[in-house]
């Protein structure tokens, strides 16, 4: 549990960080909270030549509403989401999810953006981003671009982020009508990675579902957006039949493997059960908003 040797840099400004990244991006790793990177260094799974600690960059930890979306700074820690009183009603699925993330020690240091960029298919935030249709704002010396979460995850620990880019912010669109979400996670013990987890988000228009998002955790090479299941919900009254069909389609979208946490068949069925349960919770919450 001793890491291999590496250089360490802690730039004071984003400009400095981006310059360093342009220069050495190919063999550097960015560290925000370090809650995934440090264990990987200690196990020597990761042996970067340079660790760029962005933890001291100013003004990147805000959580605010802007122009119809919720903006979460790249250095906002899990605990900031956990303790933000507004999020409890603005976007309750975030608060739902944050309690499932590891333990208080990790939540005190780890960041949402860092977790999303780490792109562990067992990470919780990735599925929530997919369900909420969130985007990432990435900066480099050549400018800024907006990357939709849908398509961001390329494979285990692999994203479309370029070696010279830093994610500075996450944007979550605010719902236009009554909305609700839920995150259900099956874990073997507190702090464990998910065996399976499911993020569900619905927006209502009258009695019908106007928008639906379903993200699946730990059942494939990336977090998975269950597009067919989402489509089966949109435009429909959320009857039992519709919900059961969406759950079936979401389970079909899952590509789990047998491992120590359970068989592929088990995980697929948990996706089904959690989509059922998640939709019922999310719809209940949406109806409360309406009332």
């Amino acid at each position: 549990m001793f890491p291999a040797a590496f250089d360490y840099a802690a730039p004071a400004t984003l400009v400095e960080a981006l310059a360093l990244l342009k220069q050495r991006g190919d063999d550097a790793k960015i560290m925000a909270g370090g809650q995934s990177l440090i264990p990987m260094l200690k196990l020597r799974f990761a042996q970067p030549a340079l660790v760029i600690d962005i933890g001291r960059l100013p003004a990147m930890n805000g959580i605010a509403r802007h122009n119809g979306h919720l903006s979460i700074g790249a250095l906002a820690r899990h605990v900031d989401i956990e303790r933000n009183a507004d999020l409890a009603w603005l976007c309750p699925i975030l608060v739902d999810t944050v309690h499932w993330i590891s333990d208080p020690l990790v939540r005190n240091r780890g960041t949402m953006a860092g977790s999303v960029c780490h792109a562990d298919p067992s990470g919780d935030w990735g599925s929530v981003m997919l369900a909420l249709d969130a985007s990432l704002i990435a900066r480099s010396e050549s400018g800024e671009r907006v990357i939709p979460a849908d398509g961001f995850f390329q494979g285990p620990f692999t994203t479309t982020l370029r070696p010279d880019e830093i994610v500075t912010e996450i944007r979550i669109p605010m719902p236009k009508g009554p909305a609700g979400g839920a995150y259900n996670k099956l874990e073997r013990k507190v702090g464990d990675f998910a065996t399976v987890a499911v993020a569900v988000h619905v927006e209502l228009s009258g009695s019908k579902i106007a928008k639906a998002g379903i993200g699946l955790t730990a059942v494939g090479p990336t977090n998975i957006k269950a597009t067919a299941a989402e489509k089966a919900l949109v435009g429909h009254e959320p009857t039992d039949e519709v919900i059961v069909e969406a759950a079936r389609l979401a389970a079909e979208a899952a590509e789990p493997k047998d491992d120590i946490r359970g068989t592929a068949a088990y995980k697929k069925d948990i996706v089904r059960v959690y989509v059922l349960r998640g939709l019922r919770t999310a719809l209940g919450r949406a109806r409360e908003v309406k009332a």
Partner: protein, 784 residues
């Protein structure tokens, strides 16, 4: 604390633990806290393969790294005749592999460097060329003809079979089965798990180049026995070896064996003339050091038409890994497994066991267990519950009907154990009342009608602990006595030195309380010392719940010896005849004149200042205690669970634990032991698993895969007790450290199986994980 300070601290008083002041302030001294001048650091290169021939080892690049002092291979060890060492079960084990690697994680080479970083960097540069061989990962595979021979190093070893062992009456058991009304069978696997103490294993070997004295700081539960083994292995004269076991962060059996790292570090220190420190990381601990269990068991229980037990037949295959290194009394190849008739009056029984080599880590340690009693207790308690289910009898009733009755003690079991004392119906009664069993059963029925999955599990275990009587119990010939040396200073303060070694059990408090009770010196005035072989009397160590039964008895006996001398001193001071004095804890007084008395402190002072003519000065003594019998703690545990039909998750709603460990010396410490054991039992039942893939890769090599319950998983325990003293122990005490780990797994699993029984499900092997429960439910068409 103040309330505790003013307490005498005799038997039965829950005084606070004396050792906790330093532990809670982070002021303990654990192995890795020690830093010696000129100390070098060692890292071990381990095999990535389960079974492979070593073709070559190239250490050139590693040796050339900055800071590297030496690279040690098996070849170098062989030059010093240290490539192999004896195990605690009389087998041999490779220290550093010379010919083959036989399990993933086996020690292949070691780097000694100025810093730990340098040692690990250089270790990664050692190149080993392996020829991969077939990996054997189960006894069934080990048995197959034509399967790879793991121990080709052993002359005459033609297959992977280690031992065959039997106990009981084969013919009598056969005859009883022939007459049975009903035979109930259970096939079950008690999986490999690991003690996983908070502190991993390690040592600092410091061989003095001038005097030749080897001082070895070591995380050992049995420092004296280790010293003897070192003398035998390394050929160092025993008085030139000093083992110091400092504060130990949990052992649970994991710190009983001798590990290759200890031997390599000592040899390296001897060769280099510098102290060498070696501390395992978590993965090294989980993949290479003493595992537990790994028993494949089949039990048959013969019943008459009324549900009375007629006979028990058990066969087990033991998966011992690459070297037979079980830490257990030499005479018993399957430990004390033949206690398997448990709490029941079963007229006849027959037990057979076969041990097999596999390409897995060696160990077979008693993880919070008295040498395989855990496996035995699990089998009989699962089997009895299944029997109840099959014949339609209540699971409490079948137990009560078959219990050994209080008046039958001392009771000789079908496999030859002589149970010292017990009142099993009473423990059952207390547990069921606490549970509200009759009402609960109605509640379960009502909820099942609504489609809920819920159940109750009971286990009434009997343990056998306190090894043990010298005639039958030895490790490598060393009889399993234990010792206590008590010195009372002139001012009446005392030092008690023991051959056992606490790893968190609270010896510094409990043993001081025994002196407080027997010699009348307040517990606060008794300093307990353990773990330094130069400064404590010889003993076999702390494991298998033996400290209180054996060293506790030795402490009581030595205290009584000193009390008798103090009586002479008091008589001298009071100018009275010895036989006219009466003892009341802390003082002698003249019969009929309670105002004429001398305290134990006054007597102690007199031992150094004012002696009767001809008496040897001083007030100290030593006692080596060879127990006349084992002690047999017991209890009834009851568990209530709910099962989530959708996910297979099990929620333990209640856990009632009634323990009888005889007289309780410090009830708070006893309760702490039980709480901890119930937690580990929960972990074993639901979470903990060391398993292997087909190539012999260890799955469970870190704490993200090897799951240990934390506070959030652990159920709330409702603790109760009965007290049935041991008739042969001087204090009436029995061991308690392991009862809860032994008894609780079956109670947890019985509850799950009871919940699933309406669907015809009769077994799920541990750990009972949600995916296994889900698969069982779906196989019967139950779904959300």
């Amino acid at each position: 604390m103040s309330s505790t300070l003013h307490m005498h601290g005799g038997i039965g008083e829950s005084i606070k633990r004396k050792e906790d002041a330093r532990f809670l302030r982070g002021q303990g001294h654990f192995l890795d806290d020690f830093v010696l001048p000129r100390m070098a650091h060692m890292a071990i290169l381990r095999s990535p393969h389960a079974h492979a021939r070593i073709k070559s080892i190239d250490t050139a690049a590693a040796s050339a790294k900055p800071g590297v002092i030496a690279v040690v291979t098996g070849e170098l060890m062989a030059q010093h005749k240290l490539a192999w060492m004896p195990t605690l079960s009389g087998d041999t084990q490779a220290v550093l592999a010379t010919d083959k690697v036989r399990f993933q994680g086996q020690e292949v080479a070691a780097v000694i460097a100025e810093t730990k970083y340098q040692a690990e960097d250089a270790r990664d540069l050692i190149e080993v060329d392996y020829e991969i061989l077939q990996a054997i990962t189960s006894p069934d595979q080990a048995k197959e003809s034509g399967s790879a021979l793991i121990r080709d190093d052993k002359e005459g070893q033609k297959d992977n079979h280690i031992y065959h062992w039997e106990s009981g009456d084969k013919a009598g058991t056969q005859a009883a089965f022939a007459k049975a009304h009903k035979v109930v069978r259970l096939n079950t696997f008690y999986p490999r798990c690991h003690p996983a103490p908070l502190e991993t294993c390690g040592c600092i070997a410091d061989v003095d180049g001038v005097t030749g004295k080897a001082t070895i700081y070591m995380t050992s539960q049995a420092p004296h026995a280790i010293r003897t083994v070192f003398a035998l292995v390394a050929g160092i004269p025993e008085h030139q070896i000093r083992i110091i076991s400092p504060d130990i962060g949990g052992g649970f059996g994991n710190k009983v064996p001798v590990y290759p790292g200890y031997v390599v570090a000592t040899a390296a220190s001897l060769l280099l003339g510098r102290p060498v420190k070696w501390v395992e990381d978590r993965t090294e601990n989980l993949i290479s050091t003493g595992f537990a269990r790994d028993y494949h068991m089949t039990g048959d229980l013969a019943l008459d038409k009324d549900g009375k037990m007629l006979a028990l037949r058990v066969h087990l295959d033991s998966d011992n890994g690459a070297f037979f290194a079980d830490a257990q009394p030499s005479k018993f190849k399957a430990g004390l497994f033949h206690i398997v008739t448990g709490s029941y009056d079963i007229p006849t029984a027959h037990v057979t066991a076969d041990g097999y080599y596999t390409n897995k880590a060696p160990g077979g340690v008693a993880y919070r267990c008295s040498f395989r009693v855990t496996e035995a207790s699990y089998l009989i308690e699962r089997l009895v519950s299944n029997a109840a289910m099959e014949i339609g009898m209540d699971q409490a009733e079948i137990r009560t009907k078959n219990f050994i009755q209080p008046e039958q003690f001392p009771y000789t079991s079908a496999t030859g154990w002589i149970y010292d004392s017990g009142d099993y119906p009473k423990a059952m009664d207390v547990a069921l009342k606490q549970l509200g069993y009759e009402d609960l059963k109605k509640d379960v029925e009502a909820r099942r009608k609504k489609g809920e999955v819920t159940g109750i599990g009971i286990a009434s275990f009997t343990e056998v602990v306190g090894a043990g009587p010298g005639a039958d119990y030895d490790i490598l010939g060393l009889r399993m006595f234990d010792s206590a040396e008590l010195r009372v200073h002139p001012t009446g303060k005392a030092i008690l030195k023991l051959g056992v070694k606490s790893q968190g059990q609270g010896h510094e408090t409990t043993f001081a309380q025994i002196v407080a009770e027997e010699l009348g010196i307040p517990a606060q005035d008794v300093l307990v010392m353990e773990g330094d072989t130069d400064n404590t009397p010889y003993g076999l160590g702390t494991y298998a719940s033996r400290s209180t039964p054996v060293a506790g008895a030795a402490t009581a006996m030595v205290s009584r010896k000193l009390r008798e001398k103090a009586r002479k001193l008091a008589a001298h001071l009071l100018e009275a005849a010895e036989e006219d004095l009466e003892w009341e804890r802390g003082k002698f007084f003249v019969k009929g004149s309670p105002e004429k008395f001398k305290t134990i402190q006054e007597a102690a002072f007199a031992a150094y200042t004012n002696l009767p003519e001809g008496m040897e000065p001083g007030l100290e003594g030593v006692h080596y205690y060879d127990p006349p019998n084992m002690t047999y703690p017991f209890g009834t545990y009851a568990v209530v669970v709910d099962v989530d039909k959708g996910t297979g998750q099990v929620k333990v709603k209640r856990m009632v634990a009634v323990d009888d460990c005889g007289v309780r010396i410090n009830p708070m410490i006893v309760e702490g032991q039980i709480q901890g054991g119930l937690t580990e039992g929960y972990g074993i039942a639901f979470m903990e698993l060391i398993t292997f893939d087909a190539e012999g890769n260890c799955i469970g090599s870190n704490l993200m895969d090897y799951l240990i319950p934390g506070s959030m998983e652990t159920p709330k325990f409702e603790i109760g007790q009965t007290v049935t003293p041991s008739p042969h122990h001087p204090l009436g005490a029995k061991g308690v450290g392991e009862s809860a780990t032994v008894g609780s797994p079956a109670a947890y699993v019985n509850a799950v199986i009871d919940a699933l029984s309406p669907y015809g499900i009769t077994n799920i092997d541990m750990p009972v994980t949600s995916d296994k429960v889900w698969a069982a439910l779906r196989s019967k068409g139950v779904t959300e």
